[in-house]
Symmetry: D2
Amino acid sequence: MFFKKIHSEGLAQLSYIVGDANSAFVVDPRRDCEIYREIADREGVQITHIFETHRNEDFVIGSCDLAAMTGATIYHGGRLDFHYGEITREGDQFEFGAIQVRVLETPGHTDESISLVLADTDFSREPLAVFTGDALFIGDVGRTDFFPERAEEVAGLLYDSLFDKLLPLGDGVLIYPAHGAGSVCGSGMATREFSSLGFERRFNPALQVQNKQEFIQKKVAEAHYTPPYFKQMEKFNLKGQPPLARLPRPRPLSPKQMSAEIEKGLLLLDTRSPEAYSGASIPGSLAIPLEMIPAYAGWFLEPDQPIGLVVQQVSDVARAVRYLVRVGYENVLGFLDEGLHAWEISGKSYQNIPSLYAGDLKKRLAQDHPPTLLDVRKQSEVDQGHLPGSLHIFLGELPTKQDQIPKDRPVVTFCGSGQRAIIAASILMRQGFTEVENCLGSMAACKVLGCRIVS
Amino acid sequence: MFFKKIHSEGLAQLSYIVGDANSAFVVDPRRDCEIYREIADREGVQITHIFETHRNEDFVIGSCDLAAMTGATIYHGGRLDFHYGEITREGDQFEFGAIQVRVLETPGHTDESISLVLADTDFSREPLAVFTGDALFIGDVGRTDFFPERAEEVAGLLYDSLFDKLLPLGDGVLIYPAHGAGSVCGSGMATREFSSLGFERRFNPALQVQNKQEFIQKKVAEAHYTPPYFKQMEKFNLKGQPPLARLPRPRPLSPKQMSAEIEKGLLLLDTRSPEAYSGASIPGSLAIPLEMIPAYAGWFLEPDQPIGLVVQQVSDVARAVRYLVRVGYENVLGFLDEGLHAWEISGKSYQNIPSLYAGDLKKRLAQDHPPTLLDVRKQSEVDQGHLPGSLHIFLGELPTKQDQIPKDRPVVTFCGSGQRAIIAASILMRQGFTEVENCLGSMAACKVLGCRIVS
Amino acid sequence: MFFKKIHSEGLAQLSYIVGDANSAFVVDPRRDCEIYREIADREGVQITHIFETHRNEDFVIGSCDLAAMTGATIYHGGRLDFHYGEITREGDQFEFGAIQVRVLETPGHTDESISLVLADTDFSREPLAVFTGDALFIGDVGRTDFFPERAEEVAGLLYDSLFDKLLPLGDGVLIYPAHGAGSVCGSGMATREFSSLGFERRFNPALQVQNKQEFIQKKVAEAHYTPPYFKQMEKFNLKGQPPLARLPRPRPLSPKQMSAEIEKGLLLLDTRSPEAYSGASIPGSLAIPLEMIPAYAGWFLEPDQPIGLVVQQVSDVARAVRYLVRVGYENVLGFLDEGLHAWEISGKSYQNIPSLYAGDLKKRLAQDHPPTLLDVRKQSEVDQGHLPGSLHIFLGELPTKQDQIPKDRPVVTFCGSGQRAIIAASILMRQGFTEVENCLGSMAACKVLGCRIVS
Amino acid sequence: MFFKKIHSEGLAQLSYIVGDANSAFVVDPRRDCEIYREIADREGVQITHIFETHRNEDFVIGSCDLAAMTGATIYHGGRLDFHYGEITREGDQFEFGAIQVRVLETPGHTDESISLVLADTDFSREPLAVFTGDALFIGDVGRTDFFPERAEEVAGLLYDSLFDKLLPLGDGVLIYPAHGAGSVCGSGMATREFSSLGFERRFNPALQVQNKQEFIQKKVAEAHYTPPYFKQMEKFNLKGQPPLARLPRPRPLSPKQMSAEIEKGLLLLDTRSPEAYSGASIPGSLAIPLEMIPAYAGWFLEPDQPIGLVVQQVSDVARAVRYLVRVGYENVLGFLDEGLHAWEISGKSYQNIPSLYAGDLKKRLAQDHPPTLLDVRKQSEVDQGHLPGSLHIFLGELPTKQDQIPKDRPVVTFCGSGQRAIIAASILMRQGFTEVENCLGSMAACKVLGCRIVS
């Protein structure tokens, strides 16, 4: 019996391939799904089943790609009318050598959500582990804000799934959720990726409620952000996105070629570090540091928009492409050959965004005519503490809310550590703001420096 | 928090590196320990602690190597007088970021055995997982046959460790043992490498006893083989084997050079497949197919003996070296350059060992003057069923018991599938037997073919 | 300026990617052409031109695949009516940064053969190097036996190409041919892959002639073998083979599944070593050791025939697939999961082919009733020396000439070292011969042992 | 016969491993010499000879390391009293299978310089190729400025070596020099790494002289920079640097740990891109972008100085270490864990260096109170054209000549493209200059923008 967890960075999405004897199944495959095939080949098994724990909204599921590659059959829960795959219902059982998988319907996060109970029949048919999808995470439970008009109902459904279906499987049952820390699908998740129902029952904060009513109240009161690309993902994952023959392979483009593509509507995505973007960047480009693409591209990129990349090094191109494809952006045309250096020596103009040390920020805010301090963190973070006098606009909403920012003074972008702030700075520059600075270090540095923080 | 399990093939030894924030610890490192350093570098942590769950007897522990490489401190249990490292006792605690490790003394397998209880203090100081060393495996418990004169006492100690120390940690606690299926340290282990105390409590066969007395009786009645190299490992692991500057790098040797080394006492170890060894092999060579080295080299190789390799392909050399070094054989002088092909075209003589199809074996055994059928499996396997009329000598004991084999007729070596049988065949050839055949497929094929099996 | 030579093993085919500034060209790409794209990406250039020095007959050219992947334009010589690509003629020039490429028509091997003269215009427009295709090799010149009815004419054309076009480029010009040692396109090639026109002019044996007449006589007198798949390659390379979306990915098949496919017509190709095949192999399988596939598969496999693989290790599958695809076999259905071991334990029958040490062969041949010694080397090798009394049938012609072999006595297959002899042995077994032995070591060992050799 | 050229980036140093049958030799191995061993293993040969074409001054030769690893013997020319290895003299011959190597004494660059003539005795004992060390490059010849008091003499020696020894080997002889384009050992080298004596004879600018007198005049008139570390390299390479057991492995250091080391004298080397350094950097750090380390570290680092690294990504650490070790800096203590981001969030202060677009520079220079434009290129580059009014100090000499820079106005650093200028900017910041800007794009951009250039 083999068991591999595949952690897809950025999305913090967890998928699994598990097999025994000659066959294997995959739970919630990602789009760039070659990896499952490679593992299966190495283990000498055929992937025969693909299970989707639910219709995902934060990435394009790779089921159709993997099915095309392997001939496996796709299974989902029955309470949503998928345009592809087979339906599986409570109690259905599947065998893979000594492994038995049993389906448990666990609605709440979505109606069609299922969990998969795994047994090792060499020892017992009793539950050994459970794939919980977005119902139960390690340290948190799934969001229930996707059906605002049914808010209480779906929170109640999740309660039942957790307390009447999952926890009763037994304390000793290991859990394997669909996301880890860093996902937009929950905020309290542990950085740790191993746990048991027993540990969660006792120590998962979201499960420490007196009764269903309290659980529902808490869930309904939660505030989550929903990036615009979620709608697109839901469409893709309902109808089944056509398999990619291969990952897009952007071409190297000279500054001249890139400029021509920009004229024709290409969006230039700069994936370099915040420091490098600060030092020099191409006017009009959008900064999203490489590892932040999965979490933030979906807020700012249009479906089908042609994309060009500015990278630190050529090997970043393939990684950026993976990240973009996972969230549904396949039209990655090219990358700037030889990087920003090529642009600089081409004589084309570039911008720079001064980095503002938190110690200096502190002084500037205390002086007359302070800059606008634009805090782009989430509401929940702001609630826990912010610098007095800061203006809060959540990063994802900046493109639509930038009117709130005074035009007559400099803007200093600010977040938890300065990473999201560089995205914000690049957006402001794109919008025509000219005096933009970025506080690298941001709140983390301010705390060390003993800045005054209010909440 | 990150957690990596390192499975060392062949030995089926499991080691772990776990860290948080800037520091990490390693449990039971293997000798070729570069891998821990690489993971630590990638995760941006320093390895500061090395824990040995007990003085291992089946491989050379890599603690001293890893300590030399990283500056980490080594910790063992206190009931053995190690010549290196620090002593840690029941209740000692160590912190690595949010991780807390607490020591539990769990004697039985050996007196100084400890277990390490892990907590994630971001959630609770209650146990989350436990490293159980050779006390508790997935599907089995540790051997207690190393102190024959104290057999009942140590079995009782293990009972107490299991039932009074480990199981009370709670059903929801995940377990991480020091070995998986295929290890010589236990025979009933699951092929699966994940479980919880709850699952083991209910379904681990070795834990299904009425009381301590029954447990002790069962343990005392167990029969285990103890390869001769265990003594050497115990010595090494007590005194602390000097770190290897680097893994040995055997030189390519021409047939002529290899012959000269053989004259001087080199043992030629042929790591190719059973089929290739059958097809053509060098007289006097010992066959141990590559992946079987960790399990069988220690039965047949002398400490310090110079070793030469015959490999299928050059990349096998490095793997063979790893396997040998792990069990204490560092004197790997060279490998046959260009493989057996070079030998063949050099005009030197070679032998072949006919493979005997189980269907033909069946016929031969039914005829007059049947060959000696030499079954080299373990006693426990033979007890479960063997071909009538077969002669049983366990593979590891073949060099000392070959007098039992009649010299006046052909010998067919036989095991579970034909792999161990090729080792046996090569040993017989070395001993001067001339009519040796090997039954590839062996018992597995016989079962399919409906051969008569007695037990 | 960068320059990479890609040596494709087995075929000993040499292709080249050369570039400067932003663009690059490829000469004679192989079918699995990802490698050129990777190099181009790493160097930051676009592949804009693909040159074919001639319509190849020994492998499927990768031009169409590479063009589909990169958008590059394909160029050939004008004296053959290709169904794809552009025509380029004597004197045409192409620029890639400081690189200039000039076309030279060099017929003889084929009518449309061209050479490509490279200059580094940073230094001079005079020739620096030349890609000679199959006109001039290092140590040999191209075959001229493809147009038997025009034998003298084409040999004369080659003479003119060599002496009037290539050599006059100057002694200091480096040469880059389309094949290296081991190719079926020439027999006298150096194992070395670097030379100059000056060195070849003086020391290439094929160029040491007094005049055109002598050159023609020599060429016309040459004997070459032409494998049947050449016809297929010529067709493919004339019309342009449709690009492969990806390399075939054979599935792991259990012994039972493999048997079922064999029933349906699959050919089982065993790519393991001669020793392993000797030790145990599946009845009906064809032995072609992995690295010999490019040279020998084309003699024995039918176009479009479904192929199954027996491999030593899973990683050999991908390599075997590459080798097969290069010579036009794309229908690789599956490989035997877990290798021959799976077959053995499945209870299915297997054969073995005794290996015969040359020393023992010598004795056997001297006794009464000697076996048939079947020498499968090329005529040219046999002419240089063979064992007295041997029967010569060239390996490639064995399937059609096996009637010449007496059925009433054992056959010992024999070649230069025992590698081709195992292929021959497997063919004889497929044809129903039952007493087949293989002389590993063959002629090489016989020479060392001082066997009598006649010529 | 196999032949591999190893290009060591940054140094643009070329070393070679060549072998046949069972043995191989290496010419001018680099310090991190594992690569030769790996190639030798793959090719199945033993490295038996190491040739040094001369005592190198720009890097630490790896002969002693490679000899320790392989047991090979080291050979140098006889006109310098090396403390290790063997002497070889004009006419000495060595055989490696069919390869013959013959020694040619070719003094000039240094007195003990030798060249190695290679023949392929399968074809002829006449020269096929020649390893020319620092005597003859592709497109240039060696420096002769290391013995200023013997300037004319050594230039004359080189003339004789070139015209009386090397060129007479014949036009068709391939050449393999010790350096390629980008090396500090010559300025006119081709980017191309293949040529012949014939091509060089006709087109190498340095060889286009009427007579010895003209050659000497030209050489004596050349101006070369000699970095201070050359002295150290000469010492190391004369006495033989003790082999490294392994490459240094710097530890991850937190900002706090790094600060403590800086207090104790560690030099912080920032290897990130010029843009990233501009965006934010640690006060006191020295910027040398990763790929520029081999060329520039030797100008600014003291022997034995403890070094800390700031890198873009962890994998850069190993590369930086290689580069440093090659030029003799082995004391690499640590790297900033989690990179500059960790520093920023630690609350420690950082600096930034505004990037100045060439278009804006042009305007600034035309206004009143222009900044000092500090051109740090080589004299030869400045001679070919510079912006009017710029102050020239060669980068390598900046630490000792910074008094020449006015303190009362901003400084804009400037070079060919902005890369060396960032090093200069970091040096000025270290020296206490506060208003420093860097012109990314520098002269390259100025040319495109049509700035006025004088020479």
